[in-house]
């Protein structure tokens, strides 16, 4: 359903070009769930936004293709792309407080969405459908006439999810959907998302810096570091058998309330400067197993078996020399 092939995204800035996403490839089947995990600057949001082609300018896709139901959207004219957004792919943003138009009533958001994509729908029918969706979200239909500021953050995120599923898309991309929310609300929102996804058979890409919720909610996980996929595996496999030193380090720095005597450790060093990323393996300056080779050659992303891909010389010897 979704196929991404060697996707590369650049952001030209005054200080030089930032390669935010580099050579990312993966695929996603119907009603599968994929987690994109990474820290600030890993390129996870850029990757998410490129799937609906809304990378903020001057960022642009310089290489690769993204196929949604076989159609390569990288080359799609904007008019066709616009129709795809909302209809086939829905996007849910991080901050529910700012993702609704403050001067528009909630109901009007829905009606506008429906009538943009299905111009022949009558206003009454659109309102009917809105009520139905609000019902699914646990929001009283009469609140349709309220403005966004009259809702709490959790409620607004529900509304965003509702807007996302109204047109029954095949794919929902949720970019840090619960980062701005409290844990109890977070759990409820993630449950809602999961239930709706099952009910409508949608695929889900969950983007988060919080590996806990990704491990908990996703079938497969991509770990991103400095725009690169460093590891790609099923969550069970990743949890039991993390191979890339970055993934290992990340797992060792998350506290788990179910463990009683946990020892956490940090990954040494600082996040990479994306204007001047380290040569070879991007993680090598912070890696405790780094060898000379790691700074000279860039390892390839190789399947180590079990559909478990790793980009590290610890897992395989293949790589490309850098100048």
């Amino acid at each position: 359903m979704l196929e991404v092939n060697s996707l590369t995204v650049d952001y030209p800035t005054r200080g030089g070009t930032i390669r935010a996403v580099e050579n990312v490839s993966f695929s996603l089947g119907k009603s599968e769930t994929l987690g994109l995990a990474g820290e600030s600057g890993s390129g996870k949001s850029t990757l998410g936004l490129s799937m609906i082609r809304l990378i903020p300018p001057p960022g642009r896709i310089v290489k690769g293709e993204i196929r949604i139901d076989g159609v390569n959207i990288v080359e799609l004219p904007e008019s066709k792309m616009r129709i795809l957004r909302g209809q086939k792919v829905a996007y849910i943003f991080q901050d529910p407080m700012t993702s609704l138009n403050p001067v528009k009533k909630i109901g009007a958001h829905f009606v506008e969405l429906i009538r943009t994509h299905e111009p022949n729908t009558k206003k009454e029918d659109a309102l009917e459908r809105t009520k139905k969706v609000l019902g699914l979200l646990g929001i009283l239909p009469e609140r349709m006439n309220d403005y966004p500021h009259q809702f709490s953050g959790g409620m607004r995120q529900r509304i965003m999810i509702g807007l996302g599923i109204t047109l029954n898309p095949n794919l929902v991309i949720a970019d840090e959907p619960t980062t701005a929310l409290d844990v109890i609300v977070q759990a409820k929102i993630l449950d809602l998302l999961e239930n709706l996804r099952r009910a409508y058979g949608m695929a889900l890409i969950l983007i988060s810096h919080d590996l806990s919720i990704i491990l908990e909610r996703c079938d497969r996980i991509i770990v991103l570091y400095a725009g690169n996929m460093v590891e790609y595996a099923s969550s069970a496999e990743l949890h039991k058998n993390p191979i890339h030193p970055y993934t290992q380090g990340l797992l060792r720095s998350i506290p788990n309330i179910e463990l009683s005597d946990q020892r956490l450790s940090a990954i040494p060093g600082s996040p990479p400067n994306m204007l001047n990323p380290p040569k070879g393996c991007r993680f090598s300056p912070r890696c405790r197993h780094a060898e000379e080779k790691c700074g000279l050659m860039e390892p390839s992303l190789i399947d180590v078996g079990n559909n478990h891909f790793v980009k590290c010389f610890a897992a395989n010897d293949e790589g490309v020399a850098v100048e």
Binding site: R82, S99, N101, P102, H117
Partner: protein, 346 residues
């Protein structure tokens, strides 16, 4: 708080502002110079003549009483109903004439000029501002920004003179002064606005004549002011276009025009609207110069003429009138804002 309560409280809160305004004008005009009468005569009159004028104008009373007389004059509704204008005292130059009457007959000219100028300024400003923000950091953006900056730096009367020179002197397309050609009888005064009065009269010829007379002054003022609106709209659009709800709207596949106008502009316009009250003050300042340039018989020209006569009571009256006008406009703008922004009504 409902919209109606908001409006009522907002109106009530205008009262202290008005009092403050009257006091400030009084301080500047009567207290600051010491003796306006002496200034009026430039020391070329006998003490007796000066004393006589002081007596007629009531300037021989103690300062606090002058103050009370003056404030009472402005708010005396009875006087206003009887004469059709507030009591702003007598003119120093011609002591039989009421300043209020003179000001009220000059005011519609300024009002008409201001209305058309602000429409021109807002239309040009918002359209260019939006275009500029959509093409951020590209050549069109730089050109529009340049336009905004240059209009800010051009003295308004310089632009007026240049336009007079081109369209009036060389091309002879448009009149270079007055509200309507001297050969044409002005329309009967209903609103005092010639364009509207002539339409009410059903006289198309007079309408066209008055529009022709309005074109140059209102464009002069409008263009100069549009720069401010370009800058304001551009900055606010740039900030709004970066907000998440704009990206979210695009992500739902809404049309770019919907995103630009109903999402971004609708929100970016709110701060522009708040600024409009303040810009109106700027506009009135510009109107003084525009009226002088185009011999436009409005309040601004009135004040300038009176300065030449050193007619301080008249100047004071005109300044008060400008103040009242601005206060009224900012009241309207605030109410409009409350109407447009649902977050105000809690």
């Amino acid at each position: 708080m409902g919209l109606r309560t908001y409006i009522i409280t907002r109106i009530i809160l205008t009262i202290p502002t008005l009092l403050l305004l009257l006091t400030a004008v009084f301080l500047i005009m009567r207290v600051l110079p010491g003796d306006p009468v002496a200034l009026h005569f430039e020391k070329k009159a006998t003490p007796e003549t000066m004393e006589a004028l002081r007596h007629i104008l009531g300037l021989d009373k103690p300062l606090w009483q002058q103050y009370l007389d003056y404030v009472w004059g402005v708010i005396d509704i009875g006087y206003m109903v009887e004469h059709g204008y507030p009591n702003l005292g007598k003119s120093m130059q011609v002591t039989t004439e009421d300043v209020g009457g003179q000001i009220f007959s000059a005011f519609p000219a300024t009002l008409e000029l201001a209305i058309y100028a602000i429409i021109i300024a807002v239309v040009i400003g918002v359209l260019l501002g939006v275009a500029s923000s959509k093409k951020y950091n590209s050549v069109p953006d730089h050109i529009i920004r340049g336009f905004g900056i240059i209009t800010y730096a051009v003295p308004i009367f310089f632009l007026g003179i240049i336009l007079q020179l081109i369209f009036g002197v060389y091309l002879r397309w448009l009149p270079t002064g007055l509200r309507i050609a001297p050969t044409v009888e002005p329309p009967a005064s209903i609103t005092g606005l010639y364009t509207i009065d002539s339409l009410l009269e059903g006289n198309l010829y007079k309408f066209i004549e008055s529009v022709k007379a309005l074109l140059l002054p209102s464009f002069t003022l409008g263009i100069i002011l549009s720069g401010v609106f370009v800058r304001l709209t551009r900055t606010n659009m740039l900030e709004t276009l970066r907000l998440e709800f704009v990206t979210a709207a695009r992500a739902r596949g809404l049309k770019e025009s919907t995103v630009t106008y109903r999402y971004a502009l609708r929100n970016a316009f709110l701060p522009v609207l708040t600024m409009m009250g303040l810009q109106f003050a700027l506009l009135l300042g510009g109107a003084v110069l525009t009226e002088t340039t185009f011999s436009w018989p409005g309040l601004g020209r009135y004040i300038v003429t009176r300065i030449n006569f050193r007619d301080y009571t008249a100047i004071q009256g005109a300044v008060v009138m400008f103040g009242l006008f601005v206060t009224l406009v900012s009241l309207v703008v605030d109410i409009l804002y409350a109407y447009l922004d649902p977050r105000i009504r809690l």
